[in-house]
């Protein structure tokens, strides 16, 4: 019998269609898997069911009765609780406070009953006690926890609400093997007790281990729903890609000089392990795979923002021992992050101030010489087709794409030798993206070496010469030549 049914749901964010006329039905005692590439609409669907986002069209039925869900409280009252992909925990509260955040036990009407809270929390704590690590306790403030421990807190929070329907949006993305096993044992138990579970994961083995049914999304649409026993990995990947997209191997014109620009040997660090690769002058290397498999950490460690644990980095033939941004800059390395708010811009300051810090450093300047160096900025900004009115304008008054171009210009005016691009086109519009990539191509043709990480697989396939696929912090596959296509990329990314 179907417990939850979603009919003809559509949702747009501005011009982006996040969901288009989607239908899905979840039975009692069922673990229902959702799969689809980044941006296919999985999280949006979960958020609509849990009331944190409103659908533009469509209906939701629970036990065949139509229900209106306007906010998360409605959803909770209907017996739905949700693990949010971006987590919904309060950073400064303790683990136990977070687990019972929505219904803290009270005494004398308004005081929190600490004893009761501890006792009820203990039950959920014990479930994960052996796998969560020694530094994990009920009184620890969440802010001190690692990513996997935070996910466990969010899981405990859902379990504590004990609702009939539970939604888990990528709950295992940071968990290790033993933690996943522990979680799956709980899930299977819940299913036995009659709960219905929506589970999102990118890992094939996990899906086949716990799933009963699988619904595949692609480009905001539901493609199919099947019993997992009726499909295999190959079918799932093909459906996620779509038949017509299977062969996608655009060749980039390149005249490579076969001298290595950057060599990495057995590099280990936070979130990645034993990475070796070599980039030639004028080459664009893609690093691909699912989000958060260590790609970003690798780039940050090379640049010296994160420490490396072991391994060597060579620039041409010189070994780079202790890494730091200053040292990297001296060696001609540049790092551009797509998270410009966090890593890039000086908010509220002028374009001028945002463009020149590297220039000042490299040229050991004491005075800014505003008028003297302005043409340098103007030229580069024009090259990038940046829209701005004056160089003294505040950067925060520009659109996201133009802000990103300023950050890119910051590095380009210093003629970089190696560019580390960490999802550089994140959140910028299509025309800005096109400008950015045509510039990257031009740079490569001039001999600049580029490592590109992009969360958009199409970008990666189109613009890189070779792709190293990352899975769980390791390179699991190198795709070059005719192997460089979407199918192989997905197979390597989703396999483990």
């Amino acid at each position: 019998m179907s417990l939850l049914e979603v009919k003809n749901i559509s949702k747009k964010y501005g011009a982006t269609i996040a969901l288009n006329n989607c239908n899905i039905s979840i039975n009692e005692s069922e673990i229902h898997v959702l799969i689809g590439s980044n941006g296919s609409g999985k999280s949006t669907l979960c958020k609509i069911i849990s009331g944190s986002v409103q659908a533009d069209e469509g209906e939701i039925f629970i036990k065949n009765k139509k229900k209106i869900i306007k906010n998360p409280i409605d959803s909770k009252n209907l017996g739905i609780s949700t693990f949010y992909q971006e987590l919904s925990i309060a950073n400064h509260a303790s683990v136990e406070d977070n687990v019972f955040m929505s219904n803290l036990p009270s005494k004398y009407f308004f005081l929190i009953d600490r004893k009761k809270l501890r006792n009820s929390a203990l039950k959920f704590y014990n479930l994960f006690k052996n796998v969560a690590g020694e530094d994990f306790s009920l009184s620890t403030p969440v802010i001190q926890l690692r990513e996997d421990q935070r996910q466990i807190v969010e899981i405990m929070k859902v379990l504590a609400s004990n609702t009939k329907i539970m939604i888990f949006d990528e709950p295992t993305s940071a968990l290790d093997k033993s933690q996943v096993e522990c979680f799956f044992k709980i899930l299977k138990n819940l299913k036995k007790q009659g709960h219905s579970i929506i589970f999102i994961s990118h890992r094939m083995n996990e899906i086949f281990e716990v799933g009963d049914k699988i619904t595949i999304l692609r480009d905001a649409e539901v493609i199919s729903t099947n019993k997992l026993s009726d499909v295999d990995q190959d079918t799932i990947i093909k459906r996620m890609i779509g038949e017509k997209n299977l062969i996608l191997n655009l060749k980039r014109k390149s005249n490579q000089i076969k001298t290595p620009a950057l060599t990495i040997r057995n590099l280990c660090g936070k979130n990645f392990d034993n990475i070796s690769l070599e980039i030639l002058k004028g080459e664009i290397i893609g690093i691909g795979g699912l989000h958060g498999q260590g790609q970003s950490s690798l780039l940050r460690s090379i640049f010296g923002i994160l420490p490396k644990k072991s391994g060597n980095i060579f620039i041409e033939n010189k070994i780079l021992n202790k890494t730091s941004p200053r040292k990297s800059i001296n060696y001609g390395l540049s790092y551009i992050s797509g998270d410009r708010k966090r890593d890039g811009i000086f908010p509220g300051r002028s374009i001028f101030e945002n463009i020149f810090p590297i220039h000042f450093y490299k040229n050991k300047k004491i005075f800014t010489n505003r008028n003297g160096i302005q043409p340098l900025a103007n030229n580069t900004l024009d090259l990038l087709k940046t829209v701005y009115s004056s160089i003294n304008q505040e950067i925060t008054n520009l659109s996201g794409g133009n802000q990103q171009k300023i950050i890119i210009a910051r590095w380009l005016i210093n003629s970089p030798l190696i560019l580390l691009l960490d999802d550089p086109a994140k959140g910028i519009d299509l025309s800005a993206k096109a400008d950015l990539y045509s510039l990257i191509n031009q740079l490569a043709e001039k001999g600049v070496s580029i490592i590109l990480y992009s969360s958009d697989d199409e970008e990666l396939l189109t613009y890189s010469d070779r792709i190293f696929v990352f899975n769980n912090g390791k390179i699991t596959k190198l795709l070059e030549g005719s192997e460089k296509n979407k199918y192989n990329l997905y197979e390597a990314s989703y396999d483990n």
Binding site: I329, F346, F367, T368
Partner: protein, 320 residues
């Protein structure tokens, strides 16, 4: 676009401060005729310059962000007055060494603040409050039995009498300092780096800004500015007496905030702060004229700071 620009100018902290200063002078002159006479204005400016010099350091520390603030300036001013007074002890010849020693002491205290905040990661509020306590205790110990020195005649002249038939030297000093700070913040790489670490420390690190060094230097400068103010204060009052500096702590912060510098860091400049200092001194003088006592004035100043925070906090929300 043009209209927007004009509007922004209208509510620019500098315009607001100038307008308020003029209004206050008219008001003062109305309450007590002669309030806005040239001589009276000069003597108010002298008092304002002391606050202005202290606020310069406060301003730099606040601009550097990470909740930067320097409460120890009060203690440094007091200590500086004592040290300078003892070293020069009424002799013109000893002024230069006295200034050198005092600036060094101020800078050293700032260095300790800076190291505590930057490397030991003590929150600036706590670090400098602790330092203030230490300095106040030190003052009590040092003063036990030891007579405090006197200002040299030239220093007194410098701080109170016209220099070469123009304004008093201390006002010239303040003007030069103002020009220096404006230039520093706008046209030197060091200045831009202060804003960089104040707005986005992470991005600053990635662009090779020596974040730690700059943060420490800001506290050192703050200590030196406070020490300089202490020397001027010695000249202004002739001899040092206990805890003269303490009364400047709160006003030095208010002047900075009034001048449009955000307590979150990375936004603002010194011209506004200097005007803020003048505004506060004029306000204080009016309050004295209408016989509001010390505690009343403290209350009014405290409330002003809170109001300013609400006002600018709101502006921030409205903008985004």
């Amino acid at each position: 676009m043009k209209i927007l620009f004009k509007n922004e100018n209208l509510f620019n902290p500098i315009t607001v401060a100038i307008t308020l200063i003029i209004i206050l002078f008219f008001l003062g002159n109305f309450i007590s005729p002669g309030f806005a006479s040239p001589n009276q204005i000069i003597s108010l400016l002298i008092v304002a310059s002391l606050l202005g010099i202290i606020s310069a350091g406060q301003n730099l520390v606040i601009l550097g962000g990470r909740e930067g603030i320097d409460l120890s300036v009060g203690g440094v001013v007091s200590i500086a007055a004592v040290v300078a007074g003892n070293v020069m002890d009424g002799s013109n010849a000893a002024i230069l060494p006295a200034v050198a020693v005092t600036l060094f002491v101020g800078g050293f205290i700032g260095l300790i603040n800076g190291i505590g905040v930057t490397f030991i990661k003590i929150p600036p509020l706590v670090m400098t409050l602790g330092m203030l306590g230490v300095l106040q205790g030190l003052l009590v110990v040092v003063r036990n039995g030891v007579p405090s020195g006197n200002a040299a005649p030239f220093l007194v002249h410098f701080a109170t009498k016209p220099l070469l038939n123009t304004f008093p030297g201390i006002l010239w000093l303040w003007l030069i300092l103002t020009l220096f700070l404006v230039f520093l913040l706008k046209h030197t790489v060091y200045g831009l780096r202060i804003y960089a670490i104040g707005t986005n420390e992470r991005a600053a690190k990635m662009t090779a800004v020596p974040v730690e060094l700059i943060r420490v230097s800001l506290f050192v400068l703050s200590g030196m500015f406070a020490a300089l103010a202490g020397i001027c204060l010695l000249g202004y009052s002739g001899s040092s007496f206990a805890n003269v500096g303490e009364q400047y702590i709160l006003p030095s912060i208010i002047a900075v905030v009034f001048g449009g510098t955000s307590l979150a860091g990375g936004k603002g400049g010194y011209v506004g702060t200097a005007l803020g200092a003048i505004l506060l001194i004029v306000l204080q003088s009016i309050l004295i004229t209408i016989r509001i006592d010390e505690s009343g004035r403290q209350m009014i100043f405290g409330a002003t700071l809170l109001l300013l925070m609400i006002f600018y906090g709101r502006g921030k929300m409205l903008r985004s």
